[in-house]
């Protein structure tokens, strides 16, 4: 299943089009694609050859909806055979409308129902500490609409209070939450003790800088905004 192929960012539209059938609009529709690309290309210590290494970084895609961008990035980075993208959602495909960790190497969690990834990440971050793993970081991608789920707020509060430094959340904000977040999304994390940064969701250098900025003794959230674009 896994290959050693490594394809560049410019190949992502073609890879996504194998699933969505529309290269022209695929990138614009994928709110998460730049965040995913920067994480896998420049930030995460995870590759097809270390998906079982206990010291790898963990990336948890909590927002399992619209995973075409995720699959495309995994294919570009060699976790998936690009040829497998075309049959997605089919009976014999490991790639479905929501990812299944049992079917795809490198996928850390199965997701789809919203509000599960960040709470699971609390346990992963705590567990890595108990196991004495110093290096691995935990990144979680959630959507702004997903934050409606109360389970996230259980996790945001506890992570802040425990000072889970290895935990990093990126909220892709395309203002899809029905009732919104007066005061801004970052504020919800800041009051709980998180380090916060707000950047453009398409700005690769700003994303990289936000993902790698130190946040000693606290978890960090990066709000990646798409306002005005969608």
């Amino acid at each position: 299943m896994t290959t050693t192929t490594v394809l560049g960012y410019a190949r992502l539209p073609g890879l996504m089009a194998r699933m969505t059938g529309d290269e022209k609009h695929a990138m614009a529709a994928a709110s998460t694609v730049d965040v995913l690309w920067v994480l896998y290309d420049r930030v995460l210590n995870v590759r097809p050859d270390n998906v079982d290494d206990p010291d790898r970084d963990r990336f948890l895609l909590s927002k399992g909806h619209g995973p075409a961008a995720y699959y495309a990035v995994l294919a570009a980075k060699g976790f998936l055979d690009p040829g497998s993208l075309g049959g997605w959602r089919g009976r014999d495909s490991p790639l479905g409308g929501h990812p299944d960790r049992l079917l795809v190497p490198g996928v850390e969690i199965s997701s789809g129902s919203l509000g599960h990834g960040l709470p699971i990440a609390i346990g992963v971050a705590l567990g890595l500490g108990v196991r004495g793993r110093r290096s691995p970081r935990v990144f979680v991608l959630v959507g702004d609409g997903e934050l409606d789920e109360g389970s996230n707020h259980e996790a945001i509060a506890l992570a802040g209070r425990l000072g889970l430094e290895r935990l990093n959340v990126v909220v892709v904000d395309n203002t899809s939450s029905t009732h919104g977040w007066p005061g801004g999304i970052a504020e919800r994390f800041r009051v709980e003790g998180w380090a916060t940064r707000t950047v453009g969701a398409r700005d690769h250098d700003a994303l990289y800088s936000a993902f790698t900025a130190p946040h000693p003794g606290r978890p960090a959230v990066v709000v990646a905004r798409l306002e005005g674009e969608l």
Binding site: I109, P119, I120, I122, G123, L126, S151, E154
Partner: protein
């Protein structure tokens, strides 16, 4: 005077010992029983996690801990452990295919004086909608100790249902065991129901069988007990929703013409009543007279 330990005390003692001896063990709590682990938490930094009053996070945290190779023991009252975060149990443990040992306390209505909010007669039925779970319903604190140790040794998904209701003595062994022979049929008592079933059937010529493990249900053991009796008349007495195990009893006796009566907490009504657990037993027909009446009428009905 010797102090009698409840299954909740035994849970804390045994789990603390396992924390001391098995580096895989982590305990995840949501305030309930947390003070029982204060000393152990200080001795094992990071290995006793109290998430506060956050039961969705309770289960999800256990999921993440298991993903790093640890063995989470997760505990609160049954209503808040199984019913409130049920989707987390379904997805974060089941669908992710990671293991945990969930240990509830409170049975169906140990806290009857607290009202419906702290009662969970549907917990086993709910867990039973998910594949791959082992469910233990120990009838004595000593059984709870052994079952908990065995559960923690594994890496699968186990639900241990603890209650303040208890039999006077533990029953040795595993699976479905006949504890008193008889000819007219078989009464299978689950966990804390054994003593009252023995009392209810004292004057009846029926076999009494026992199990503290209901998932998987020992169908072969049950079948042997039924084949040893004169008639394939079976009564199952469970301390949670009536009929929860009926489909498995029928499956075990698939090729034997048989009759089955399911006794348990009624599915027909919500009491809206406080009082003692014994009051609730009586209301659901789970006291000695209620069980005796159900068995007698069923056995007579077969004539």
């Amino acid at each position: 005077m010797e102090t009698v330990l409840t299954s909740r005390d035994v849970f804390a003692e045994t789990t603390i010992e396992l924390l001391d001896t098995d580096p895989r063990v982590v305990v995840v709590l949501a305030d309930i029983s947390a003070s029982m682990f204060d000393v152990a938490a200080a001795r094992h930094p990071g290995r006793v996690v109290n998430v506060g009053i956050r039961e969705q996070l309770l289960i999800s945290t256990a999921s993440g801990l298991a993903m790093t190779g640890l063995r989470p023991v997760v505990h609160t009252f049954g209503s808040f452990l199984v019913e409130r975060p049920f989707e987390q149990i379904k997805l974060d443990l089941g669908h992710q295919d990671v293991g945990a040992v969930l240990v509830s306390y409170g049975g169906s209505y140990d806290m009857s004086g607290g009202g419906r909010t702290h009662q969970s007669p549907g917990d086993v039925a709910l867990i039973d909608t998910l594949p791959g779970w082992t469910v233990h319903v120990p009838g004595h604190p000593d059984e709870a100790d052994l079952l908990l140790r065995a559960a923690v040794r594994g890496d699968d998904r186990v639900y241990v249902r603890l209650s303040g209701q208890s039999n006077a003595q533990p029953v040795a062994g595993e699976g479905v065991r006949v504890v008193r022979p008889g000819r007219r049929g078989v009464v299978l008592a689950v966990g804390p129901m054994l003593d009252r079933v023995l009392a209810a059937t004292a004057a009846m010529d029926v076999a009494v069988a026992y199990t503290s493990t209901v998932r998987p249900l020992d169908g072969n053991g049950l079948r042997s007990a039924v084949l040893a009796a004169d008639r394939a008349d079976v009564v199952v007495v469970e301390p949670y929703l009536a009929g929860t195990s009926a489909y498995l009893v029928n499956a075990a006796l698939d090729d034997i013409p048989h009759r089955l009566r399911s006794v348990g907490v009624s599915r027909e009504f919500e009491l809206h009543m406080y009082g003692t657990p014994e009051d609730h037993d009586a209301a659901h027909g789970l006291d000695v007279p209620g069980i005796a009446g159900a068995i007698r009428s069923f056995m007579e009905g077969g004539d």
